[in-house]
């Protein structure tokens, strides 16, 4: 997701940290399953018909159902490691340092850490990112779309069976100013490949009335955001629709469950635009439950900078994710110069 492009570009100019690992390798095809293996530093990744299997030094190992693993990996790849921590599950995930990324096992799990069984390595983003991209490409079979709601795609199981390059290579959507402006991200239509989703068949598709005087056609502009969201072909994938400086409106459509436990490194705001989303909120570091949140249409909530969250939606819902993309914020919060919650009273 292009949300992070400015932060990552700024970070790319910085010299690498002393402790980064640069070894990444795509392994040979497994004779039994047809899938490739992958190595990132001392982490090794292998998939079989049902599972992703991850190992690391001192006997560390983890097994993840392949459907859940691919959905999480797809977001991590498409989001460029996103803001903060992307927990694939309770054991494995990544932390974005904007230019570098930590791959971890057990680091944000109390039991692993207390037992000294956690392990992590830090990589240049330009090393781990392409490896993860190769992994999602190789491990995704024909007919399976890790971005789609489970009821709207095929199954990921079984031995290697073709690929789905169209799904894993989707073009990232990031308006520079606002969707629909000349030269900016276009509105979605049937003709450009975005039919209305089955769960949003009742959403009004009429566009607003726009009357621009001559010479102001590029500035007098509006579009149907709810119609735009009703035509999203992906779930849990915030896309920039309007921009005020570092303030990014990133609405998205949500169905089933957020494939990752997102650990915040800054405040992130949610406004539920339609239907209902339930959020489980846990401590970012320990993973211990802190709150549950039920968000209905019109509800506003802040996700503090020291939590992780996972959402659930039965009926496909529209969610406005609001981000402040400033790359100064994580450092300010870590240094105690900014609070974990952006509003106090």
């Amino acid at each position: 997701m292009a949300i992070l492009e400015s932060a990552t570009a700024a970070a790319a100019a910085k010299p690498l940290s002393d402790n980064v690992v640069t070894h990444a390798e795509v392994g040979p095809i497994d004779n039994a399953t047809g899938y490739r293996t992958f190595t990132a530093g001392d982490f090794h990744f292998r998939r079989d018909e049902y599972f992703a299997r991850i190992t690391w030094p001192a006997g560390g190992s983890h097994v993840a159902p392949i459907d859940a693993f691919l959905r999480a990996l797809m977001r991590d790849v498409a989001w460029g490691f996103f803001y903060g921590t992307v927990n694939f599950d309770d054991v494995v995930g990544t932390v974005n340092h904007y230019g570098e990324v930590t791959l971890f096992a057990g680091t944000y799990n109390d039991a692993y850490r207390d037992a000294g069984r956690d392990f992590s390595q830090r990589f240049p983003s330009e090393v781990l990112g392409p490896l993860f991209k190769e992994m999602i490409t190789d491990w995704t079979n024909a007919g399976y779309d890790p971005f789609a709601a489970p009821m709207e795609t095929g199954v990921p199981w079984g031995a290697k069976n073709g690929s789905n390059l169209e799904a894993v290579n989707r073009v990232r959507v990031a308006a520079r100013r606002m969707v629909g402006l000349p030269g900016d991200t276009p509105v979605r239509t049937d003709d450009n490949g975005f039919p209305v989703n089955r769960m949003f068949a009742d959403v009004d598709q009429r566009q607003p009335l726009v009357e621009a005087e001559p010479g102001f056609e590029g500035e007098v502009s509006a579009y149907n955001l709810f119609g735009y969201l009703s035509r999203s072909d992906v779930t849990w994938n915030p896309s920039v629709c309007s921009v005020v400086g570092e303030s990014l409106f990133c609405p998205t459509s949500e169905e089933f469950s957020l494939p990752v436990d997102h650990g915040n490194d800054r405040c992130e705001w949610f406004i539920t635009l339609s239907d209902e989303i339930v959020w489980d909120i846990r401590d970012k570091v320990t993973g211990r439950p802190r709150a549950k949140l039920v968000a209905k249409a019109g509800d506003v909530s802040c996700m503090p900078a020291d939590i992780r969250h996972k959402g659930y939606a039965d009926k496909r819902a529209m969610l406005l994710v609001w981000e402040n993309a400033s790359n100064r914020i994580p450092e300010m919060i870590a240094a105690g110069e900014a609070p974990n919650v952006s509003v106090t009273w």
Partner: protein
């Protein structure tokens, strides 16, 4: 229509969720509802419902005709309920300093060139372009969100609107 019904809220019909605390302070989630905020606000009172450093999202009860506003940077209006008309005008001379953050309320309609008009219904998002002046109008009580920066017209009354 298919078998699914999409549930949008409105000022006349909304159901509010909430935060159930396990081990935390509910105030950390700054939980509110835009329809409730608009319902309890004066017309065109621009109440911050979300804030992240200098940036805010304002909720407003759109009713009748708003004052004229000017802003040095882009803002965006999203209609959450009802219908809102936006009138845009290019001032003959700049009305606010280039570095001014947030919208500024004007005493009267400024001199300038008419830019155009938007008629927005629920779910429609419109651009309030940098350097323009604008006025909103709603025949019936409506609700809007505005993506902007905190400024002179932003009202912050978190204790009144949030779960605690």
């Amino acid at each position: 229509m298919g078998q699914y019904q999409t549930r949008f809220g409105s000022m006349a019909d909304y159901a509010k969720g909430g935060v159930a605390i396990i081990n935390d302070d509910p105030k950390n989630y700054v939980f509110s509802n835009v329809f409730e905020v608009a319902e309890k606000s004066a017309p065109w009172e621009r109440v911050a419902v979300a804030k992240n450093f200098e940036y805010v999202i304002e909720a407003a009860r759109a009713e009748g005709t708003s004052p004229w506003y000017a802003c040095a940077h882009d803002e965006f209006v999203l209609v959450m309920d009802g219908q809102v008309e936006v009138h845009l005008l290019k001032p003959a001379t700049p009305l606010v300093d280039a570095g001014q953050q947030g919208a500024v309320e004007l005493a009267d309609m400024p001199d300038g060139a008419k830019m155009g008009r938007l008629v927005l219904e629920r779910g429609h998002q419109g651009l309030l372009p940098a350097g323009s002046a604008y006025r909103l109008h709603a025949d019936n009580v409506s609700c809007v969100l505005i993506q902007t920066i905190a400024g002179p017209v932003t009202v912050q009354k978190w204790a009144d609107i949030c779960q605690s």
